[in-house]
Amino acid sequence: MKRTARRLVIDRIACTGHGLCAELFPEQLALDDWGYPIQSPGPIAGGDTRHAQRAVAACPALAMRLEAARG
């Protein structure tokens, strides 16, 4: 059975720029000059799901969640 694709959503107001997420999920996240995440577009590749989940769980600001990818 094919799993539905998911994407990472960042609440930009909640995010305090700890930058932890980019370490845990480098496949899709990098940091800007001030430590805020830059997200590459698109759904999470199947093999990266665990890294994405780890980043979501570790965010001290609870600023990230996973959603069903649209379309």
Partner: protein, 451 residues
């Protein structure tokens, strides 16, 4: 700020059947009264021209007004051009049945005057549109938001009271004056303030159609959009479509500003060429460039802009959109980079400072841009600028950084040769000595200023 309007000379006259005609001398609809009499339209004249607010009887399924608006193809006039019927449907279909309508008359765009002008010259159409939209979505509460520094609120309260005394409005319209900053008029910011919070944008989802003022499903529409609703409710979709193009039907308000002899607000038909629109305001000298849309807009070389059809599709063909309806003409002795740098600095200062990429990224981008416009040549700084402009996209809770990025990118792209000139020789003479063209009110927003 432009507060006065100079539409083409009023020509008094009456239309067929002795009724005041529906359109002005130049096809104006919203400003027909002004066009005919040269004065703001009072209630008796409004009722004489348009008759009472139509009422809609019980219906199964979709509200007939929403159906009519969908057929009319009305798109929002607040900047994003979203189909109005879709927004109405979302609120009308919400689970909670206690709903709210918010009319956005804040017009935070410093170069724009269309909403203030509409509220001054044809306020009855906006008030009609509010009660009609409330009927369509099933709202019992309606707020009309205007900026506190315009003096419009007092007058509008009197008009609301006058209508109430005559029993025109089935629900109460409250006139409100939220704090006036560039982003305080974004829909979630208005909704948050009306619900007792700060006038700062909030995270979406939830969308205001699901959870708006006080947690209730809320429709936020621009005041011009609502004025068109008042006309569509009376004259129908086919009439509405008699002007404009198939995909951008109807007329719309534009603010013509910059190097024009008669700056002001004009009502035009979609499908008119940008050249013909600008002619209304009598451009002075050879224009160099046109800013299309406002401070979230797009700079285009004057000749390219002039040739475009003013419609969603026509402007999109050049990567532009009508945005807040501003067309600003840049004269020959002016520097597009200097103008853009000042606007970016203004937009940076207007951030609600909630999202890192906007709080830090926007002022830094503005600083890099100012260096290109006014500073010493620095190729490294220019490369950093291009990277930072990219990084403003899609990284805020609202579209404020995206709008600023769009403006910055269009200046760098459209005027690449001029950028190279600055990089080689330093600021051009116009950057140093030309008078600033577009308004960028200096304001330091303090923490308490969002209440």
């Amino acid at each position: 700020m432009i507060t006065d309007i100079r539409t083409p000379q009023p020509t008094p006259g009456r239309g067929r059947a002795g009724r005041p005609s529906l359109e002005g001398a130049h096809g104006e609809r919203l400003l027909a009264g002004w066009s005919r009499t040269g004065a703001p339209t009072e209630l008796p004249e409004h009722l004489d021209r348009h008759g009472p607010v139509p009422s809609f009887t019980a219906h199964d399924g979709e509200h007939p007004l929403i159906e009519e608006i969908a057929r009319a193809g009305l798109a929002g006039r607040g900047g994003a051009g979203f189909p109005t019927a879709k927004k109405l449907r979302a609120v009308a279909g919400a689970k909670r049945t206690d709903r709210v309508v918010v009319a956005n008359g804040m017009e935070s765009e410093p170069a724009s005057a269309k909403d203030k002008t509409l509220l001054r010259l044809a306020p009855q159409l906006v008030l009609d549109g509010i009660v009609l939209a409330a009927d369509a979505v099933g709202a019992r509460q309606a707020h009309l938001c205007v900026a506190p520094d315009t003096g419009l609120d007092q007058r509008l309260r009197e008009l609301v009271a006058e209508r109430r005394a005559l029993g025109i409005d089935p629900i109460e319209i409250t006139v409100r004056t939220p704090p006036h900053h560039y982003v305080s008029s974004e829909s979630s910011a208005l909704v948050n303030w009306l619900g007792g919070g700060e006038a700062k944008p909030t995270t979406t989802p939830p969308r205001t159609a699901e959870r708006g003022v006080g947690g209730l499903p809320t429709l936020v529409d621009n005041v011009e959009t609502l004025a068109h609703v008042a006309l569509i409710a009376r004259y129908g979709a086919d009439w509405f479509r008699e002007r404009g193009t198939a995909e951008s039907p109807g007329t719309t308000l534009v603010t013509l500003t910059g190097a024009v002899a008669e700056p002001g607000v004009y009502e035009i038909e979609y499908g008119t060429s940008v050249h013909d629109i600008l002619e209304l305001a009598h451009p002075v000298g050879d224009a160099q460039a046109v800013l299309v849309g406002g401070y979230f807009g797009t700079w285009l070389p004057a000749a390219e802009a002039a040739a475009l059809e003013y419609s969603a599709a026509g402007l999109a063909s050049a990567g532009a959109s009508s945005g807040a309806g501003v067309l600003a003409v840049l004269p020959p002795h002016a520097c597009v980079l200097a103008e853009t740098a000042r606007i970016l600095e203004y937009l940076g200062a207007q951030s609600s400072r909630q999202c890192g990429p906007c709080l830090f990224g926007l002022p830094a981008t503005a600083g890099d841009f100012a260096q290109v416009a006014f500073g010493q040549p620095d190729r490294e700084g220019t490369e950093r600028l291009e990277r930072r402009v990219e990084l403003l996209l899609g990284r805020g809770a609202c579209k404020h950084p995206d709008g600023a990025a769009r403006l910055a990118a269009s200046a760098l792209r459209t005027f690449a040769p001029h950028v190279r000139r600055h990089l080689k020789w330093g600021p051009c003479p116009a950057a140093v000595d030309a008078r600033p063209l577009l308004p960028t009110p200096a304001e330091t927003i303090k923490d308490g200023d969002w209440r």
